[in-house]
């Protein structure tokens, strides 16, 4: 095939300029900090609380997505009902709707006078401007990941296997528990990890609904922006390096899971 030199050089130049150079700049800036300075910046009480909030709310949202994502995928693959293809299209809305718009509209819904906020306030539950609001926004953002990861695997399960299980006397629940669930699990974990990774770095949908109170509802990406606005470039960079490390670890995990998934389904990974 021709074009090796042309495509190689242009791709390398593009990736070097657009992807590698900015990340290199990030690490270069980190080197202007001494090690104790770096540690101090990434372990300040405000930073630690922001990690805790970011991590816990992302975990809660990804877990919700795992449960409801599996359910949505199951219903879409297994059942016939009017509006099925509309539901299938709607699942991708969080990918298509700008995150800031999701943040704006969710905030409007969940504030004290909002459509959902009012009845919830009557029950004594406040969502907007609390960690709960962050979980709501992150659940919105992460929904498609689990559905789209699980859907193809559910479709690929051969009916014969289930028939065999039921022929041997397994109940419907046992068939799900021992046959279907283990097959779907790697895909479910992949979707969970993708939703979690996306949630960790999410910013646009959260800034509106979280209220951004330092030490209370301040996620790490917001702390980076705040540091930057106060011209604390070194502090912002140190936090960014922490986030980048977590992102790469999660990326690695997704790759491992996908390799496992490829073994389950017998498909090659791109």
């Amino acid at each position: 095939m021709p074009g090796f030199r042309l495509t190689l050089i242009s791709t390398l130049v593009f990736v070097a300029l657009i992807v590698v150079l900015p990340l290199f700049g990030l690490f270069l800036k980190t080197t202007t900090l001494t090690f104790p300075q770096f540690i101090a910046a990434v372990t300040s009480p405000r930073a630690l609380l922001s990690y805790r909030l970011t991590f816990l709310s992302s975990f809660a949202a990804a877990s919700l997505n795992a449960v409801f994502g599996l359910l949505v995928a199951w219903v879409l693959v297994r059942y016939e009902f009017p509006g099925r293809s509309l539901v299938d299209a709607l699942v991708d809305l969080p990918f298509a709707l700008p995150t800031a718009i999701a943040g704006l509209t969710l905030t409007a819904l969940y504030t004290k006078d909002g459509l959902f906020g009012k009845p919830l306030a009557a029950l004594g539950i406040q969502v907007a401007f609390t960690p709960l609001g962050i979980v709501v926004a992150l659940t919105f953002i992460g929904l498609p990941f689990v559905v789209r990861a699980v859907q193809p695997i559910l479709e690929s399960i051969e009916p014969e296997i289930e028939e065999a299980a039921m022929g041997l006397g397994a109940s419907r629940f046992q068939t799900f528990r021992y046959i279907i669930f283990p097959t779907v699990l790697p895909a479910l974990l992949t979707g969970f990890t993708l939703a979690f990774a996306r949630a960790i770095g999410e910013y646009g949908s959260i800034v509106f609904i979280s209220g951004n109170m330092p030490m209370k509802t301040e996620i790490t990406p917001l702390l980076i922006v705040t540091s930057l606005e106060q011209y604390d470039y070194a502090g912002a960079t140190a936090l960014a390096v922490v986030m980048l490390t977590v992102s790469f670890a999660l990326l690695l995990l997704v790759n491992l899971l996908q390799r496992k998934l490829a073994r389950v389904t017998g498909n090659a990974v791109a």
Partner: protein, 278 residues
């Protein structure tokens, strides 16, 4: 997806009617609460004070300049990523070379990096205190807090879209038709445009549609490099934020309604492409 036939072929394996009805109802309720109502609320709030207020919010000069900046950013970022995405997909599909796996990972990096971190890295390169800051200042070139920074950040966040869609298609389709064309004397470029491109066109279009939605809607990365100068460096999502913070809710949601219509159009196009590509 051939789920229709699939589902029908195993009616015996289905849950009881009641279980099915409950599960479907839960899915409808969940998606309505989490997706449909928020989407509808955008339009409800945009038209809260009538169509006149809606239209005047959209004809505001700040909104107009945000529209043009958004179109500019997407108008540059999407074609750039289309061209380089196709080049990269050809490279990765047709050749094996040392470092190939690393290159695949690097092309995927923008999806796993927080948009805020991406924006920050551009500030650290091109900002006043950045690596190229002194050089840019000496030549009076503004990148950060100006349109070029917004374009760069938008290119960064949309890098993976086209490659991701096109590469698996190219790999699945193999090389035999290209080899035949070239044996018959077609040049490499001619082979690409006449043989390869028609085979992957739906994948390309799919990638472009998704990249465009992300380019027009990007918030985090663009927000960090923009500086929020009203009417100068604000894209539509940033403009919606400014209006919202000024308690101009009709204005904010009018702008949001434009982006929501974009997302509905994206979903419709996506479905159409999936349907045509089958």
């Amino acid at each position: 997806m051939s789920t229709t036939a699939h589902a029908r072929s195993r009616l015996i394996l289905q849950e009881s009617g009641i279980t099915r009805a409950i599960l479907i109802a839960v899915v409808f309720a969940f998606l309505a609460l989490f997706l449909l109502v928020p989407l509808g609320t955008v339009f409800l709030l945009a038209f809260e004070k009538g169509i006149g207020a809606y239209l005047s919010a959209l004809s505001d000069p700040g909104t107009r300049s945000a529209i043009s900046l958004t179109l500019l950013a997407a108008g540059i970022a999407v074609p750039v990523n289309l061209v380089f995405g196709l080049l990269a997909a050809w490279l990765l599909a047709k050749f094996n070379f040392p470092g190939r796996a690393l290159l695949v990972t690097l092309l995927d990096v923008p999806f796993s990096v927080s948009p805020v971190v991406a924006g920050l890295s551009f500030v650290l390169l091109f900002g006043r205190a950045g690596l190229f800051g002194p050089f840019l200042q000496a030549h009076d070139i503004a990148v950060i807090f100006a349109a070029p920074g917004i374009v760069l950040a938008t290119i960064f966040v949309t890098v993976p879209f086209v490659v991701r869609e096109v590469l698996p298609l190219m790999q699945a389709q193999g090389n035999s038709e290209e080899e035949a064309a070239m044996t018959l004397g077609a040049s490499g470029l001619r082979t690409f445009f006449r043989v390869t491109l028609p085979k992957i066109k739906w994948g390309v279009l799919y990638g472009v549609v998704l990249a465009n939605a992300r380019a027009m809607g990007e918030f985090g990365a663009v927000s960090v490099v923009s500086g929020h100068i009203r009417g100068v460096t604000t894209t539509l999502p940033l403009h919606a934020e400014i209006l919202y913070n000024e308690y101009n809710f009709v204005g904010a949601f009018a702008v949001a309604s434009l982006l929501s219509m974009l997302s509905i159009a994206t979903l419709v196009l996506k479905k159409l492409i999936e349907w045509r590509a089958r």
